[in-house]
Symmetry: C2
Subunit: 242 residues, 2 copies
């Protein structure tokens, strides 16, 4: 049996691909974290759902794979893309123990892209994507990546910039980036992308250091060429100009 891991985009029904909606339409049961499952329920209220809270990803994916092994048509939903910090790799790892379960990933618009469109064009050239969550990654590894990405003048997109337990992580990340990037580097934050309360702001890296991000915020840090054009963050697509 096939199990689908489906990226549903930022949250609005409009941000989903046709492929994602088709796969969800055919699913017997839809599995996901409560918040994302609720978004899908608005489109498909009649479906069967298996939902669970945050930090129960492994258990949830295992249950999903078991249901697929039992012959049901299962779709695991993730916000944004299914692969980027999503459930796709976890489902692959778990499904490896089940001979009759085949995994199929349906890509979606990740927050770096939907948030990017909201704030301008921050990722118009080479970039690095780094999560500040140290739940599954040693903080030293995160620091090294921030350091190297800044030293090579990448534009940077940060996922999970903050949480209750990690209120100063964005500040610590900015301090590392400030070793290589100018304090006036153009940055942006995008919040509640595609949902109620959607907002964004453009600011300098120095200002970002003191910004209070929450877990629904995606953060963009420019490269040395990034500009503020009419209140939008724009990274040119090259170093030889128009």
């Amino acid at each position: 049996m096939k199990i689908y891991v489906v990226g549903i985009g930022a949250g609005s029904a409009d941000g989903m691909t046709f492929e994602a909606r088709n796969v969800l339409e055919k699913a017997d049961v839809i599995v996901g974290y409560t918040v994302y499952a609720e978004l899908v329920k608005k489109l498909f209220p009649e479906k069967e759902y298996f939902v669970s809270a945050m930090k129960q990803e492994a258990e949830r994916c295992r249950k999903a794979v078991e249901m697929a092994a039992d012959g049901r048509n299962v779709a695991v939903v993730c916000s944004g893309d299914a692969g980027v910090y999503g459930m796709a790799s976890l489902v692959y790892e778990i499904a490896a123990s089940y001979e009759n379960v085949e995994v199929s990933v349906v890509a979606g618009v990740s927050a770096m892209l939907s948030g990017g469109a909201l704030v301008g064009a921050p990722l118009g050239h080479d970039f690095a994507v780094i999560s500040l969550s140290d739940l599954l990654t040693p903080w030293e590894k995160i620091e090294k990546r921030l350091e190297c990405a800044s030293a090579a003048d990448f534009a940077i997109c940060l996922y999970n910039p903050s949480s209750k337990k990690r209120h100063d992580y964005l500040m610590r990340a900015c301090d590392i980036m400030l070793k290589h990037k100018n304090a006036d580097t153009v940055c942006a934050v995008a919040k509640n992308i595609g949902r109620d309360g959607e907002e964004y702001a453009i600011m300098s890296l120095a200002e970002l250091r003191n910004y209070s991000a929450d877990m629904f915020t995606t953060v963009f840090i420019g490269n040395s060429m990034t500009k503020n054009i009419g209140g939008k963050m724009v990274t040119p697509r090259g170093y030889k100009n128009v």
Copy 2:
């Protein structure tokens, strides 16, 4: 007037978001590189199109902005996402000289995500995206980014790995990555994503070094944790395991 810069995804109509299709439906004129405009024409054969060849991006975008300034509803189409190596930043830069033109970006599924879904889940953890095209970027800058991204154990996605004039660039990039990544690092290539002739392959970094990529290929290089699970490339979402 508003000008829309629209990411249409990998190429199949199914890979487009509802938002992208809605915006194209309302456009008076659709502007783009010949190949991508042709893909859109299949969906909207009755529209007016302004198409031009590769390397004429600046001229094409200028024409698009002028048409918007003249009061027409213009959509500039890009394959994948509009922001990632797309036309969005170029349109922002050009539109800055026109007081009555407002830019709006519509995100799409970039090749790192659609190609990623095809080969497995290669970008399940922090990653860097690097274009090997040195048309607008000094090669030294590209080398530095390859070096730093490898040193920090990022998964890496390469755009534009090759062209007629740059047939050995992927080999040179692999040699740089091999300074920090093991020769048996799990890698993948995705070709003609979402179009006729779609295919992918999983291979080691040593094998990738001798792979002949073309300009329709997207390349993925794993981090130290990336695995081959049943012929798919899977990067776990953290370093503390399931």
